[in-house]
C-alpha cells in the first residue's frame, strides 16, 4: 500500500491544461497543417508526381487538375487535399521553391470535405463547425468506435485520449460499448469490403440524431489504400459524415481539437 502511495507521488498529476491552458509541446519535426505558397510555385509538377496518394494538384491557367502544367502564366493554383494526405512530406521534399511546406499547426479537422482542401497561404481556417452539434452534444457525447480496414494507428492514438494526460472524460466525451448507448460513430479505416455490412448495421443501431466522425486519411478517402478493390475509399461511401479529422494517423491533439471544435468547446 505504501509503495502505491509513493508511486502516486512520483508519477504526479499529469492531466494537461489544454484547451484552457497551453497545448502540449509537439516535436519540432511534426507535420501539421501545410502551407501552400502559390506565389513561389513555378508549376514544375514535381510535388504532384511525388505524392503517393494524389492529394496535391497544381493548376496553371486553364490546365487540368493534376496534370503537370506548362509554366509561363502566373495564375497557378496549388491545392492539397488534407483528406487524402498521409503527411509523408514527399511534396515538401520535392519542391525546391518551398511552395509546399508543413507547419506545426495541429488544427486540421473540418465539417465538410471541401474545407479540407488547402489552397493558399492567405486562407482562413475552415468555418466553425455545425451549430446543432453544440446544442445536442455540447455537454455529453458518447461515441461508438468502428475500426474498418486500416492499420490500427488511428485507433491507438484515439485510445490515447482516454489516458490520464488527455482525460477525454472531462469534456463529457466517452467511448461506449454499444451503438445503443452512442450518439454517433467514430470510424477509422478505409471501410474494407469485409467491414461494410458490420458498419452499416452499427450505424443503423445508433439512435437519431446521430453523427459520424471519420478519423484519419483512410476513413476520409482511403488513405494509402485508395483505389484498392478490397476497400470502399472511406466512411462517406457508406454513411454520411459530419466531421473529418485528417492525419495518418492524426496526432491525439488533432483528434481532440476536432472533437472539441465540433461540440463547440473551443
Amino acid at each position: 500500500m505504501l509503495d502505491i502511495l509513493q508511486a502516486r507521488i512520483q508519477q504526479k498529476h499529469r492531466t494537461m491544461l489544454w484547451p484552457d491552458g497551453p497545448a502540449p509541446a509537439l516535436p519540432d519535426r511534426f507535420a501539421g497543417r501545410p502551407r501552400m505558397d502559390c506565389a513561389a510555385c513555378d508549376a514544375c509538377g514535381k510535388c504532384v508526381a511525388a505524392c503517393p496518394v494524389d492529394a496535391i494538384t497544381c493548376r496553371n491557367g486553364s490546365g487540368d487538375d493534376g496534370a503537370p502544367p506548362s509554366s509561363g502564366t502566373r495564375t497557378i493554383e496549388l491545392a492539397l487535399d488534407l483528406g487524402k494526405c498521409i503527411f509523408c512530406r514527399a511534396c515538401e521534399r520535392a519542391c525546391e521553391r518551398k511552395a509546399v511546406t508543413f507547419g506545426a499547426d495541429f488544427h486540421l479537422a473540418a465539417s465538410t470535405r471541401e474545407a479540407l482542401i488547402v489552397r493558399d497561404a492567405a486562407e482562413k481556417f475552415p468555418p466553425a463547425l455545425v451549430e446543432k452539434a453544440r446544442e445536442y452534444f455540447g455537454r455529453s457525447l458518447k461515441l461508438r468506435q468502428v475500426s474498418a480496414g486500416g492499420c490500427n494507428a488511428c485507433e491507438a492514438d484515439t485510445n490515447v485520449l482516454g489516458t490520464v494526460a488527455w482525460d477525454l472524460g472531462r469534456f463529457g466525451i466517452q467511448f461506449v460499448a454499444s451503438p445503443r448507448h452512442a450518439d454517433g460513430l467514430l470510424i477509422t479505416g478505409a471501410v474494407s469490403a469485409n467491414m461494410r455490412l458490420a458498419l452499416e448495421k452499427t450505424y443503423a443501431a445508433v439512435a437519431a440524431p446521430k453523427i459520424v466522425i471519420a478519423c484519419g486519411a483512410c476513413a476520409i478517402a482511403g488513405g494509402p489504400y485508395a483505389g484498392h478493390p478490397e476497400i470502399h475509399n472511406g466512411a462517406a461511401s457508406v454513411v454520411p459524415v459530419d466531421l473529418y479529422i485528417p492525419g495518418c494517423p492524426p496526432h491525439p491533439l488533432t483528434i481532440l481539437d476536432g472533437l472539441l471544435r465540433f461540440i463547440g468547446r473551443i
Partner: protein, 511 residues
C-alpha cells in the same frame, strides 16, 4: 537437418539469391524437408505460392529458419494441378499458410484438417477457387463452418466483428460449458485491404507506405523489413549510422508497445495505478520516436537505403535526458504489479500455452519466450545493427499470462539499455544512400524481431526487376492460434487478460 544442398538453398537474413539457384524438388520431397526441419526444431517462417513459369502451374516456396546455425533455407516445389497433399497433419505450424495458399491461388491442400478461408476474399486466379464458390458471388466474412461442441449445458458465445472498445475488428466464437471455454475459434479478414496484391508490380510510390501501415503499431518493424528486402535486391548497404538509428527506433517501438501492454493488463485486472501510469508512459516513448521523425509511430524514418532523418548532438542529448526520466517512471509503475497479490493471483496460471504446443504451432516473439523458448530474430537471424550488438534474450518458463507480462518487463529493461548505449555511441557519417534498380529474377528474405515477434518479408523479382510476388508474414499470423489454444479450459471471463497478454494484430494478419 540432413538435407543436402541439392534440395535446399541456404541463405541468410537480408540476402537475395538467384531464383534459378533454388532447387526444384518433387512435392513428396518438399513435404519431407519441411516435416523433418520442423521435427528438428526449425521453424517455417514463411510458406507461400506463386505462379510458376508454366501456365496454370504453381510454385510453392518455404522459408525454413535454422536458428541454431543462424541460417535460412529455401525449399521449392511446383504443383501442376489444382491440389496437393496437405502438410498440416504432419506439421501443424503450416496450417494457416496452407489455408492462405488455398484462398489466394485456388490450390486445394487435400486432407487439411480445417480448411477455411483466411481473409474471405476472392481467389487471385480467375476461375480457380479451392472451395468451388461461384465466380462473382460476394464472399461474406465470418461465414461457413465453425467448430461446434454439442451437448447439455453447452453454449456458444459469439463476439465481433465490432468490439466493445477502440479495437480492430475480428469475430470470436467460444464453445463454453458454463463459464469454461472448451474451444475458441477466431475468424479474421475484416481488416483486409489488399496490400500483398498491391505490392505486385512495385516498388512504387506507395510501397513503403504499405509497409509502414501493415500494422501501424509496428511501423518500424515492417518498414525495416521492407527496406532490407529492397537493399538485398539492389546490393545497397545502408550507412552504419542509419543501421543504428533503425535499431534504436525498433527498440523504442518495442518499449512503447510493451509498456502499453503492461498497462492494459493492469487495467483488465482492475489495478488502476499501473494502468494509468503505463498508459501515459507509453506515450512518452512514442514521443521519443517523434523526436526523430515528427511522427509518434515512426512514419518516414526507416526507408530503403537508410533512414529519413538524422539526429544532431543536441537532439540526442535531449533524448538521453528524457530516456532517464522515462526509465525511472516505468520502473516505478511496473514494479507495483509484481508486489500486488491481487494482480499476481490473476496473472499466474491463467492462459497456459505449453512449450510443446508453442513449438508445434510455431509461436514467435514474447509469447514463445514466455513459454521458455529461446527464440528471437535479433539473436538467431541477426541483421543490421544486431549483427554487431546483441541484446540478451529474455525468457520465462511458466507459460502463463504472468510469463507473457514478465518477459515484456525484462525486455523493457534490455531495450532501454540498448537505446541508451546506441544513442551515446552513434557512428558518424551519412544516414542514407540512394537505392538503385532491383536485380531481376531474385528472391530476397528479410526478417526483423518486431515487438510481437518475427516479421518476415519475401520479395521475388521478375525479369525486369519489379516485384512479381511480395509475401508478408506478420508475427500475428503465427500467434493467433496460440491465443485460441491458451483459452482452452479457461474461464471465459479470463479472455480479456489472455487476449491482452498476446495483443495480436488484426491488420498485420489481414493485410
Amino acid at each position: 537437418m540432413t538435407a543436402s544442398s541439392s534440395e535446399l538453398l541456404a541463405m541468410s537474413n537480408g540476402q537475395a539469391v538467384d531464383l534459378s539457384a533454388i532447387p526444384q524438388v518433387p512435392l513428396a520431397k518438399f513435404t519431407r524437408l519441411i516435416v523433418q526441419a520442423a521435427a528438428s526444431g526449425h521453424r517455417v517462417s514463411a510458406m507461400f505460392a506463386d505462379d510458376a513459369i508454366d501456365a496454370g502451374a504453381t510454385d510453392l516456396y518455404a522459408i525454413l529458419a535454422d536458428d541454431g546455425e543462424n541460417r535460412l533455407h529455401v525449399a521449392r516445389t511446383t504443383i501442376d494441378g489444382d491440389r496437393f497433399e496437405s502438410l498440416t497433419p504432419q506439421c501443424p505450424q503450416v496450417h494457416l499458410f496452407e489455408r492462405e495458399i488455398a484462398e489466394q491461388f485456388g490450390l486445394l491442400p487435400e486432407n487439411h484438417p480445417w480448411l477455411k478461408p483466411v481473409r474471405y476474399r476472392a481467389s487471385w486466379r480467375e476461375g480457380r477457387d479451392a472451395w468451388e464458390r461461384p465466380a462473382g458471388q460476394p464472399i461474406e466474412p465470418g461465414t461457413g463452418d465453425f467448430y461446434r461442441v454439442a451437448g447439455e449445458q453447452v453454449h456458444e458465445v459469439s463476439v465481433g466483428p465490432v468490439h466493445a472498445g477502440v479495437i480492430e475488428p475480428g469475430h470470436f466464437r467460444f464453445q463454453c460449458h458454463g463459464e469454461e471455454v472448451f474451444h475458441l475459434e477466431i475468424a479474421l479478414g475484416y481488416q483486409h485491404r489488399g496490400v500483398e496484391e498491391a505490392m505486385i508490380g512495385g516498388p512504387g510510390p506507395r510501397s513503403v507506405h504499405y509497409a509502414e501501415t501493415l500494422a501501424g503499431d509496428t511501423t518500424i518493424g515492417h518498414a525495416t523489413a521492407y527496406a532490407q528486402v529492397i537493399e538485398a535486391l539492389n546490393h545497397c548497404t545502408p550507412p552504419a549510422r542509419a543501421q543504428a538509428i533503425r535499431g534504436i527506433a525498433l527498440e523504442l517501438e518495442r518499449l512503447a508497445n510493451h509498456i502499453g501492454d503492461l498497462g492494459a493488463l493492469a487495467m483488465d485486472v482492475g489495478f488502476l495505478p499501473t494502468s494509468a501510469y503505463c498508459g501515459r508512459i507509453r506515450g512518452d516513448f512514442l514521443n521519443l520516436t517523434a523526436q526523430f521523425c515528427g511522427n509518434r509511430f515512426g512514419r518516414g524514418l526507416a526507408l530503403p537505403g537508410g533512414v529519413g532523418f538524422d539526429a544532431e548532438p543536441a537532439r540526442i542529448a535531449d533524448m538521453l535526458a528524457r530516456l532517464d526520466v522515462h526509465e525511472r517512471d516505468v520502473g516505478n509503475a511496473v514494479n507495483l504489479l509484481w508486489e500486488a497479490p491481487s494482480v499476481m493471483a490473476r496473472f499466474e496460471d491463467i492462459g497456459p500455452l505449453p512449450t510443446e504446443i508453442c513449438r508445434q504451432l510455431g509461436i514467435v516473439g514474447p509469447a514463445a519466450r514466455a513459454s521458455g523458448i529461446n527464440r528471437d530474430v535479433r539473436q538467431d537471424q541477426p541483421s543490421g545493427i544486431f549483427r554487431f550488438v546483441q541484446i540478451p534474450v529474455s525468457t520465462w518458463e511458466s507459460c502463463d499470462v504472468f510469463a507473457r507480462a514478465y518477459v515484456r518487463w525484462l525486455e523493457i529493461q534490455q531495450s532501454i539499455e540498448f537505446v541508451r548505449e546506441q544513442l551515446q555511441s552513434l557512428p558518424d557519417g551519412e544516414v542514407r544512400v540512394a537505392p538503385g534498380e532491383l536485380a531481376p529474377d531474385r528472391l530476397a528474405v528479410a526478417m526483423v524481431e518486431g515487438w510481437r515477434g518475427e516479421i518476415c518479408h519475401v520479395g521475388i523479382t521478375d525479369h525486369l526487376g519489379g516485384f512479381s510476388r511480395y509475401k508478408i508474414v506478420d508475427s500475428s499470423f503465427h500467434n493467433w492460434s496460440g491465443l485460441a489454444h491458451a483459452l482452452r479450459n479457461q474461464q471465459i471471463s479470463d479472455f480479456p487478460i489472455c487476449n491482452k497478454s498476446f495483443n495480436l494484430s488484426y491488420c498485420g494478419h489481414d493485410l
